[in-house]
């Protein structure tokens, strides 16, 4: 078989290399365990990969070999992940599809035709009932909703939300959060004006509309000028939290990467339990705090604490490098005492990411560092200890999402 000693040596060497490469992936024992987590990666080869794994505490995954390469013409990262299924609305094909990973492929379980609609927020109501609030396409100037039974993949109801559309020089609008309280639906929103593709602005006011559910009739609108751009698309990132008493908190994002009213502060607002408008006496101004920067993203940590993701204006130049420069920091905030604690993590990359999972006493934070590689960091809430967990190999550019696969 081997013509000389050299070819034999080369063969043995290649075998060793192959064994080493295989050793970097999850071992067979781990692969057989049922997956609990989903990881969505943009790799350096420009492709999106979906990975599933049974732990975020340790191990190494290589997206290009352990992941499923996604066809982004069909599915992207603005996802709803629940009970081992992925839901995605493709505006181009006008299909709202339900996917599941079967073996080494992503399979379409079923799909619903949904024309001229774009999702701004999703909210799970009872069981498999999903409320999608969004805007008309291509106008982005009329608020609409869709109630979907995700088990049957049937539209229960689709209609308009009785929220005023843009007027005057405002041409489009955004819905930033949707919170259902008994027979009311509270929807945060604001309006936009665009001179051209490069120049756009947001109203200096944020609005909270109270609608009667399920009629979707407008009951009241509150205006707040302390900041603007309430919340954001929660299919891409989280912007809200609830405390132990049922009070709702949302973040305003007027920084250049969302509202583009950087002169206004990023702040946390509260809607008390039973109330239908932001509490005039509660305003957690993060830009004026020691954070001194704009904030994008907020996740519930404990009953009264949240994690926020903040930019560093001294480290990026503009929109061109905002997403690729490592400049994002994480802070733990106490919503009651307004105490602020910076987490000792490497600077993160990527403007919008669904990168925090909280499970019991542990928070997992996905960091795509420029110097320290791509890790899921494990933050123990009780003692504040931060440790590196699962590593994504260096073919990873950004960890764009981490999700739990259970309900």
């Amino acid at each position: 078989m081997f013509y000389n000693i050299k070819s034999y040596a080369l063969f043995v060497y290649l075998l060793l290399i192959a064994a080493l490469i295989n050793g970097c992936g999850p071992d067979q024992k781990d692969k057989k365990l049922p997956a609990k987590y989903s990881i969505y990666v943009l790799a350096k080869d420009g492709k999106n990969y979906l990975l599933q794994y049974n732990t975020l505490d340790s191990g190494v995954l290589k997206p290009t070999t352990d992941g499923i390469a996604l066809d982004t013409l069909k599915m992207g990262r603005s996802l709803i992940v629940s009970n081992h299924c992925y839901y995605y609305l493709n505006s181009k094909t006008a299909l709202f599809s339900k996917y599941k990973v079967v073996g080494a492929t992503l399979k379409v379980i079923s799909a619903l035709p949904v024309k001229d609609f774009t999702i701004e927020n999703f909210t799970w109501l009872k069981g498999d009932t999903l409320l999608l609030t969004g805007l008309n396409l291509p106008g982005y100037n009329r608020a609409e909703y869709m109630l979907v039974n995700t088990a049957l993949m049937k539209v229960i109801k689709r209609g308009f939300l009785n929220i005023p559309g843009p007027t005057g020089h405002f041409e489009t609008m955004s819905l930033g959060f949707t919170e259902k309280r008994g027979n009311s639906l509270l929807i945060g929103h604001t309006y936009h004006a665009s001179q051209d593709i490069y120049n756009f602005g947001t109203s200096d006011t944020l609005y909270v509309s109270e609608l009667r559910y399920p009629e979707m009739e407008l009951v009241s609108i509150s205006k707040d000028t302390r900041s603007t751009y309430p919340g954001g698309q929660n299919t891409v990132q989280s912007y809200s939290s609830r405390d132990e008493n049922g009070n709702y908190y949302f973040i305003s994002c007027p920084g250049i990467a969302l509202g583009n009213r950087p002169e206004l502060p990023s702040a946390i607002f509260s809607i008390k339990k039973g109330a239908v408008a932001p509490d005039k006496n509660y305003f957690f101004n993060l830009s004026a705090s020691k954070i001194q920067n704009h904030v994008y993203g907020m996740w519930s940590l404990t009953a009264n604490k949240v994690i926020v993701r903040t930019e560093r204006k001294d480290l990026f130049k503009g929109l061109n490098d905002h997403y690729k420069t490592a400049h994002f920091e994480y802070y733990v905030l106490d919503l009651k005492t307004k105490a602020i604690q910076k987490l000792d993590l490497p600077l993160d990359r990527g403007t919008r990411k669904q990168c925090v999972i909280v499970q019991g006493n542990v928070a997992y934070i996905a960091i795509s560092s420029a110097k320290d590689g791509n890790y899921i960091w494990k933050y123990t809430i009780a003692d504040g200890v931060l440790k590196r967990g699962l590593r994504l190999t260096d073919d990873t550019d950004f960890i764009l999402r981490i999700d739990t696969l259970g309900k």
């Binding site: 992207g76 505006s91 489009t172 490069y198």
Partner: protein, 211 residues
């Protein structure tokens, strides 16, 4: 006595008498000898072909016959090779230093429609109201407007008058926006990072390029 199959077999086995051997050899070397007597029903042609096949399989391959070449042959061969060499060299030099500058024009006067251009290894959707060009020789891009661009090879270009470099990886798609002078106002993102741009900007890009 006549030569037959049985006799020939015995001859090869050295079992013939002196008389028989002499007769067989006489038959073998005499072109006008008696015909070989075949068994009844045997086809002479088929038998010949069978024998030839058996012999052919044992023969060495026919050696390549090298014809003797004349001096003029070698002279012409050298001349043709030299001509091909000079022609190819000229083509390569020409392609590296074309007399005309390779400029891909990317202008779109339409206020609403995107213009599709595939030229010089660039596949481009030119946004409305855009004036742009790529000088492929000088590796310079000039842009006022918006482009959705993918290249057939890895390319590095410099924005005209700014010194700002952009790198395109083969097969990946990029969105470039620029409408004022100066490098600060250039936005270039990989299409896969589109969700990192402000949603209001994304909506316009999606509408512009029908993404």
């Amino acid at each position: 006595m006549s030569v037959n199959k049985e006799l020939l077999e015995r001859y090869h086995l050295d079992a013939c008498s002196v008389e028989e051997c002499r007769e067989i050899e006489e038959w073998l070397f005499n072109n006008e000898g008696n015909e070989l007597k075949l068994a009844a029903g045997a086809d002479k042609k088929a038998l010949k072909s069978d024998i030839w096949k058996n012999i052919q399989s044992d023969l060495p391959e026919e050696p390549q016959v090298t014809k003797a070449r004349s001096n003029s042959y070698y002279m012409w061969k050298g001349a043709i090779a030299a001509s091909i060499f000079f022609f190819l060299s000229g083509t390569i030099v020409y392609s590296l230093h074309p007399s005309k500058i390779a400029i891909v024009n990317l202008n779109n006067n339409s206020a609403a429609q995107v213009r599709q251009v595939s030229s010089g290894g660039y596949n481009v959707a030119v946004g409305p109201n855009t004036t742009a060009s790529i000088d492929d020789e000088m590796h310079v891009i000039d842009l006022n407007g918006s482009l959705l661009i993918s290249t057939e090879k890895d390319v590095e270009l410099v924005f005209e008058g700014t010194g700002k470099k952009v790198n395109f990886k083969k097969g990946q798609t990029y969105i470039i926006l620029k409408n004022r002078e100066g490098a600060k106002d250039i936005i270039m993102v990989n299409k896969e990072n589109l969700l990192d741009l402000p949603p209001i900007m994304q909506r316009q890009i999606n509408t512009h390029f029908d993404i």
